[in-house]
């Protein structure tokens, strides 16, 4: 189920009403069922994977906790990580890296069932598998490192894994942050409703008005870069930078807003990333739940920066490349991760740095925008065609019929982002005079109703 689908607008009030109508002791079960319905709406068969992952980590964590012997603890951890990563590999990477290769195709040519299974894996990517797999893995790791006590109630743990607002595209929550909140007895509170609706409203605006409108320009450019002049290619490339931000930021806001209605605080996943004054800063502002995950569970266990310079460079490269691979089975994602690693290292070792913060911000923005080409392109050929067309090699002459008001809306979005500073949107609005606040609300609602992209489109990060 998508947040921007009609069915969600029926689902949410029903879940809200049901949740607060039920006594506290049954709420976990109700939200768990609702979460499974939310996920299963897309394809119920893949609930089996979530259920398997849940049961696996539930038992592994208990075994880790109960075991006294470090070796045994390590073995249970290895089992949990191995199976989780194995499932992730099977559904997300197996077909691309192995199943589609010629020798595998030749080997299974006469084995119809195996061939069908491999083709099935190639076609079927469970929505949000990377998100919930990382969330459950962080739980087992936290228990292993004794940063968290395991949850002994299977249903409660299942709810932590599958909590619907953040199930399919994050934020990737930590057990210690989310699970305790899920257990709290809450009642309907006006401040929660206000904050929740504000976040949802802004989230829908950002997704449906900004991201979905930019989609047409971006798709047109990437589908046929040689058709358009270099400046349209440039616009398309940087339009994607805003599209993906608006799409993912919009999702995160809606997720936060929905959770807030139930009294749950989800972590902030973005902090105005295009105002970053360096790559290091960018990664502290972009997809924060993932970058902190890699920091805590990959970078630091690898030794972080308390190692030799060569090892540290290797650690940085590993973390960024893994981050690229996390996004999908394609060499372009690896290139995207590698490019960010290169940026990071250049920034770190560069003898000179621009003294002006604005210049640093601009450099960062253009570097990140350029790297998005590899993220968006379906292969290196497309990426190189876009890059060439962007600098005037083999570009075309046709003009794209993008509606000019889209750039005005983008500007308004930019102004709102600048104006809110480090405040979250709900806090930002909360400080307004009611007239000003409702003027803003009506404007956002008007834009959603009248100016949103007319295509029904899933969130980009759903496929990760």
């Amino acid at each position: 189920m998508l947040f921007n689908s009609w069915i969600f607008f029926l689902f949410l009030p029903l879940v809200f009403a049901g949740f607060f109508a039920l006594p506290h002791k049954w709420r976990w079960l109700f939200v768990l069922i609702a979460s499974y319905v939310f996920y299963g709406w897309w394809k119920w068969e893949f609930l089996i994977i979530i259920a398997f992952s849940t049961v696996l980590d539930y038992f592994c964590a208990l075994k880790i906790e109960d075991a006294q012997n470090p070796g045994i603890r390590k073995r249970w951890l290895a089992l949990s990580l191995g199976l989780n990563l194995g499932i992730l590999f099977l559904f997300k990477y197996f077909y691309f890296f192995i199943g589609s290769t010629q020798w595998v195709q030749d080997a299974v040519h006469d084995h119809q069932r195996i061939k069908e299974f491999i083709d099935f894996l190639g076609k079927s990517l469970p929505v949000g598998i990377s998100f919930y797999t990382f969330q459950t893995m962080s739980y087992t790791l936290d228990v292993y490192y004794k940063r968290a006590k395991p949850e002994r109630h299977l249903g409660q743990f299942a709810l932590f894994v599958s909590y619907f607002p953040q199930l399919v595209a994050g934020p990737i929550e930590r057990f210690t942050h989310l699970n305790d909140q899920l257990k709290l007895k809450t009642s309907i509170k006006l401040e929660n409703l206000q904050a929740g609706f504000r976040l949802m409203l802004f989230g829908f605006f950002v997704k449906m008005v900004i991201a979905d409108n930019l989609s047409y320009t971006v798709t047109s450019i990437y589908d046929e870069p040689t058709k358009w002049p270099f400046y349209w290619n440039l616009i398309g490339v940087f339009a994607f930078a805003f599209q993906i931000y608006a799409d993912f930021f919009g999702y995160s806001l809606i997720a936060q807003g929905v959770a807030k209605l139930f009294g749950i605080n989800l972590m902030d996943n973005f902090n105005r990333p295009y105002l970053a004054d360096g790559i290091n800063d960018f990664w502290k502002r972009w997809h924060i739940s993932l970058s902190t995950w890699f920091r805590d569970y990959v970078y630091i266990p690898l030794g972080g920066n308390r190692v030799s310079k060569a090892k540290w460079i290797l650690n940085i490269a590993i973390v960024f490349i893994l981050s690229g691979i996390w996004h999908g089975a394609n060499y372009t994602f690896i290139a995207w991760g590698a490019l960010h690693a290169a940026y990071y290292l250049v920034e770190r070792f560069s003898p000179v740095k621009p003294s002006s913060a604005t210049v640093r911000k601009l450099i960062t923005f253009f570097a990140v925008g350029f790297a998005w080409i590899f993220f968006r392109a379906k292969d290196f050929t497309q990426a190189s065609t876009v890059i060439k067309a962007m600098v005037g090699i083999n570009d075309g002459t046709r003009q794209l019929d993008t509606q000019p008001y889209i750039f005005l809306l983008l500007l308004i979005f930019g102004v709102l982002e600048l104006a809110r500073g480090n405040q979250r949107f709900d806090e930002f609005c909360g400080g307004f005079h009611p007239v000003k606040r409702w003027t803003l609300y009506t404007f956002l609602i008007f834009c959603i109703l009248v100016l949103s992209g007319s295509e029904y489109s899933a969130f980009i990060y759903f496929r990760f």
């Binding site: 998508l2 109703l449 009248v450 007319s454």
Partner: protein, 346 residues
Amino acid sequence: MKITFKYIAPRIFILLITVFVSAFVYKKIYWVPELKDQGPMLFNLKEFQWHNDVLYLGESSNYWVSPDDTDKRSISDMINDSINGARLSGMQVPAYHAGMFLPIIRLIEPTARVKHLVITMNLRSFDKPWIYSTQEAALMRTRCFYYDAPPIFNRLCATLGFYDQPSADEQDKKMLHCFEFDTLKVDFPLKFNTIKRWCEQEKFPLPGGGEDFPKRELADHYIKAYAFQIDTLTNPRIKDFDEMVKVCRQKNIKLYFNILSENTYWADSLVGPELVYFMRANRDLLVKRYTAMGAIVIDNLEAVPGKCFGEKNWTTEHYDQQGRMIIARHVAAILSKEMKLKPFSN
């Protein structure tokens, strides 16, 4: 702070006002330009229904012209030029079928000038590959813009996915299931009673072994397109055409179904007379059913000779200028008769 009626009422009021203003602004400023892309048939209808006596609703058959044609007019333009004293305009979008025409017909204003409707009845639109086409989700999305509801509501339906969205996989699965299990029941010996079995047979063996693959592929495609029997109880097109008859009767509009020409010559030579039998049987069923319901069925199934089909290597209802003219004259003659139009003096 408590949530009281006094707190909620003004907020709901502002929300309602916002929705109404948005609906008004959308209808006045954005709707029509958006229809041009998103709902092209309604975009045309809004204008055409006031300036025409007859509307011709079609798909790509009224769109396609051969690059060799000197006369590039569409079928509807040819009809318009062949009738005297009435004005006809064509509205066409590729891949449209009865399910797309029906909501458009519902939107014809009772006071509109148009009182005659010619709808293309494409035999292939009743077959499984078209019913389970992978384009169906996109068509259903477009159909949102044709609901008889406030334009902003229709737009929201399209934006929020309030329409059937069968995935390409699902559609393919259903189609293949029908190919395998839908049996053809006839009162003469038929060697292969499902599409799957029929397609599996060797068809064009080559002297040195193997098969003439391009020919076989085309023959199989013909079988998939025409080897079916319309089930009047389950075929969605029948439901839509039936509804069209009802709607037109209510609106006092005379309805003409134009059964388009299919390449029976190729069907016969590639597959055999059994396939032509199914084409004719389906045509007969449609003629009988809709004549009985009061519509005028114009049978052009075999009117266009094989040489006039634009694409020789696929099943399409795309005709060259001669083919289009044959159909246009036939339709024009029937329209003239029904509308009691005078023939041209020359």
